[in-house]
């Protein structure tokens, strides 16, 4: 049994990160990942347990200049229903739509899903496509200071991110996509028959007179971390999107996706599905 010595419920970011500077803090909000992981023994509580639900300034979805800012405490349901997201980044709403169940969506925070760093992370996939940054805050020299890390650089190894132990993920930013940006997310479903494999593909980019530019391809559950599929991107970048380039992109999947066999699916099937989804999403882009 875990011996927690201190329980904190900070109300401000400063309070929260100051406590984290002392180290040894387990952060939670909805607990949708923490709880089952502690239950199974995959994770242990540390000396300090910190509930960040009441921290002000960590919620909300709003425009900030040419970017959209999503507070880390925003729940998946809030993202699913948000009109700004629906208008500017429907690919994110699509991922929220298929995330677990209603009860989990209602409790799961965006920050939690990102920090959990599962290779399957459904909210991470579209954020990679949107070239998002995470905002990390820590207590330094008597003040709360922030830095940004690109999502594409955030995931280092299975369940390991570039976030320091004394940092709090406070927000996610992405530039408002250009008018000619098209992006789609496709995940195995309907639940639950395929959710076992939890393979996902997100593709987005700008369609410029039939030429696909600034292509971002993200894949879930086919690598140790959420994956930017660089070879698939290269096969598409700056080229007209047509049957030939789609075929080349699908072939390039093998260079990027390195899935494993596990209790949920075989490597063969994961790769097969990712190719199917890649082709499907690209055809969807083409159709639009």
């Amino acid at each position: 049994m875990q011996d927690i010595k201190t329980y904190l419920t900070p109300c401000s970011i400063g309070e929260a990160v100051k406590a984290m500077a002392a180290g040894d803090v387990t952060v939670f909000c909805g607990g949708t990942d923490l709880s089952p992981q502690v239950e199974s023994g995959a994770r242990q509580y540390t000396n300090t347990l910190m509930n960040i639900r009441r921290v002000e300034g960590m919620g909300g979805i709003a425009e900030q200049g040419d970017s959209i800012r999503i507070g880390a405490l925003t729940t998946v349901t809030e993202i699913r229903r948000d009109p700004l997201i629906a208008k500017t980044a429907p690919i994110l709403a699509e991922a929220a739509e298929h995330f677990a169940s209603d009860q989990i969506r209602n409790a799961a925070s965006l920050g939690g899903n990102i920090c959990n760093a599962s290779p399957a992370g459904d909210m991470i996939n579209p954020l990679l496509v949107l070239d998002a940054d995470v905002e990390l805050t820590r207590w330094q020299d008597g003040a709360a200071t922030t830095r940004r890390v690109a999502m594409a650089d955030f995931f280092l190894a299975p369940r390991k991110t570039a976030k320091r132990d004394d940092e709090l993920l406070t927000a996610v930013f992405f530039k408002r996509p250009a008018a000619n940006f098209i992006g789609f997310f496709r995940k195995s479903g309907p639940r639950p028959a395929l959710e076992i494999s939890t393979v996902s593909v997100g593709i987005g980019g700008q369609m410029d007179n039939g030429v696909f530019r600034n292509v971002r391809v993200a894949m879930g559950s086919v690598a140790p971390t959420p994956l930017r599929a660089r070879n698939v991107e290269a096969a598409l970048e700056g080229k007209p999107l047509n049957a030939d380039t789609i075929r080349a992109a699908v072939a390039a999947v093998s260079a990027d996706a390195k899935p494993i066999d596990d209790v949920r699916a075989s490597a063969w099937y994961r790769e097969h599905l990712v190719k199917v989804f890649t082709e499907e999403v690209l055809n969807h882009v083409l159709g639009n």
Partner: protein
Amino acid sequence: MEQKVTAASIEKKSLIGQRVKKPDAPDKATGKTRYINDMVLPQMLIGKVLFAGRPHAKIVSIDVSAAERLPGVHAVLTGKDAAGLKFGFVRDNVPLKEKVLCEHDEIAAVAAETEEIALKALDLIKVEYEDLPGVFSPEVGREASAPQLRENFPDNKSLRFEFKHGDLAAAEATSDFIADNVFRPHHVTHCCMGTSCAIADFDSNGKLTIWTQTQYPYNYKMDLAPALGITPGDIRVIQPPVGGAFGSKLDVYPYEPIAALLARKTGRPVKVIYSREDEFRASPTRQAAIIHMRTGCKRDGTITFRTADVLLDNGAYTSWGPTIPVIMMRTTSGHYRVPVVDFKAQAIYTNNPYAGSFRGYGNVQTTFATAQQMDILADQVDMDPLAFHIKNAQKSGEVTPQKSFLRECVLAECLETAARTSDYSRKRKEYAAERGKPGRYKKGIGLASSIHNAGGAKIHKSDGIGTILKVDDYARVTVITGASEIGQGIDAVINLIVSEELGVPLEHVTIVNNDSDIAPWDVGVHASRTTFIAGNGTRRAARKAKAQILKAAEKMLGEPAETLELRGGSVVRDQCGTPLIKLDRLLRQMHFQAEPELVMVTDYYEPNSEPEGADHISNHSAAYSHAVHVAEITVDTLTGEIKVDRITSAQDVGRVINRMGLEAQTEGGIAIGLGYALSENMQLERGLLKNPCFRDYKLITAPEMPELEMHFIESNCAEGPYGAKGVSELPTIVIAPAIANALFNATGVRIFNPPLSPEKVARAIHEKQQQEK
């Protein structure tokens, strides 16, 4: 003294076939019902079990001293505390083990003041194991080179069953087509929403009270007693409301005697309750099997023979799983008209988890084979596929090679109804023609039928039920019945029958059925028997009470009893409905007359069937019935997903008693069958379960339930209550092969080992495409 009542005449309004609410539903809907999982008794301790976590090992040493010393721990038991307490069908099990034979073997048990302390105590128990090579399939287990798992069972051989009828060689010689396939029905588990739980308490006279989820309270005593070294008569069985059973509680499993042993040791009530992970690992499974089946027929469509050579994975202990051949052979010999039969089954001990009963009991596995082979042959014979089924469908009065007497048999009508309303024949042809054409999504339609016991199954010496019924001075009825309510709705059926016979409102009936000190004998909830058996028992008891009441009415009113009825809470003239006296008034008059009379009746009902017998030739059920499912699916040939669009079912129910409950059981049974067909799979790797959680063991969810069209065919069973037959297993039995047949129709791919998971389907389609290149 005649009591004049001048109310208007009361019309006869039958409840049979109506929609009757389940009496316990309001308490369940408001969270008031106390399930066994919710129960807390004063001074109760929590019991937890230490499982082996490895499939085959010697226990070198076990040190419980640290656990015993932990504050709050009241008892720690190990295998030596249970030595000699052998129980089980073949007495091959003990509550706590001294040798490990499967992953979930119970090595130690702790009783403590809280769950937290009990779990901590488990962590403090030090066990040293010496791992031994394991046996993980029956094919390996029966080889001479395999490790011998038990001293008394050479070649790891467990139960064996055989049935033969007719000249097989001759039948083979006359066959134009023979379907010859190996099917591998897999390990699945019940996933009751309420996890396994038992509470045990000994009184000061040494008598045991056990609160249990059992669905067979009387033979349960007989099976539990040896596990504790006590006599069955000293056990009181109380059945609180349960969160499902589906056959998983038809045997004694170690956690129950463990609760009692802990209670005996500590002198306090002990509750043992499983976590969901424990439940996945340690509760019994459905019996997995390897079925080599051959079905032969002539060009003109006549079935000539059917053989089945079955190998069963007995698992580490023998529960009800390895006895399924008793039913498997009935399907092999009785599913359609089969003139020649050769059935054999051998169970082989392994270090895998072991199987118990599960809704459909052996018929799920067998029909997966028979119904697919019928579909295979249907494409080969010189006739329309539907005509092939109907040609071989028995008619009322036919007898199978095992002497199952199909008194009322409407298989043909079920086939015709299901096929007609689903437009089966036309779609089957159309979709088959589309198979080879390009296109990602393919539609398929598949038909399957089966036969199952519908009037009990006399596999024990008695297949009967006792009923006690009383009517009090307020015309309130209490039925004390042996029938167990496990969520299936027998309470509503009994309620309906009492109200129907005695003319009292549904709300005026109380059912007592959950205490073995009070309620009389019943064999238990299995074999789709409860509506039939308990329905008959209840009706008989109610009619006895009615006869007594009407006789008293005759005496008091001077009108012949045969002209009277009970309706709307009164005694009425049957023909015109004129009420003569209110029932409660009559009962009080009976009670307070010079020679007082209370209405208290008893009944014992034994169905008109024959014991199973060692040769398996007997009419072992008082009725049989059939169901046909037509499944319509859309297959995504790229992802392998099967979406079930629509299911049409036609089932012989004899007579509809509670229409709402009947629909509910059909819908629920289909859902379990769909999970079996599409997504449920216990992934065992060298005896270890890799997916002991709902995340990775996939049950059917709400979005996956297709449209259901249900036809209830009423064959009016002469032996059944109001003509009713048992119903609840057929919906689970028939759906999986219907889907497998639909998959073939859509894609030309046939899968012999369920589940028809997306990966399996995708691979099979992929391989077929590679072969065709």
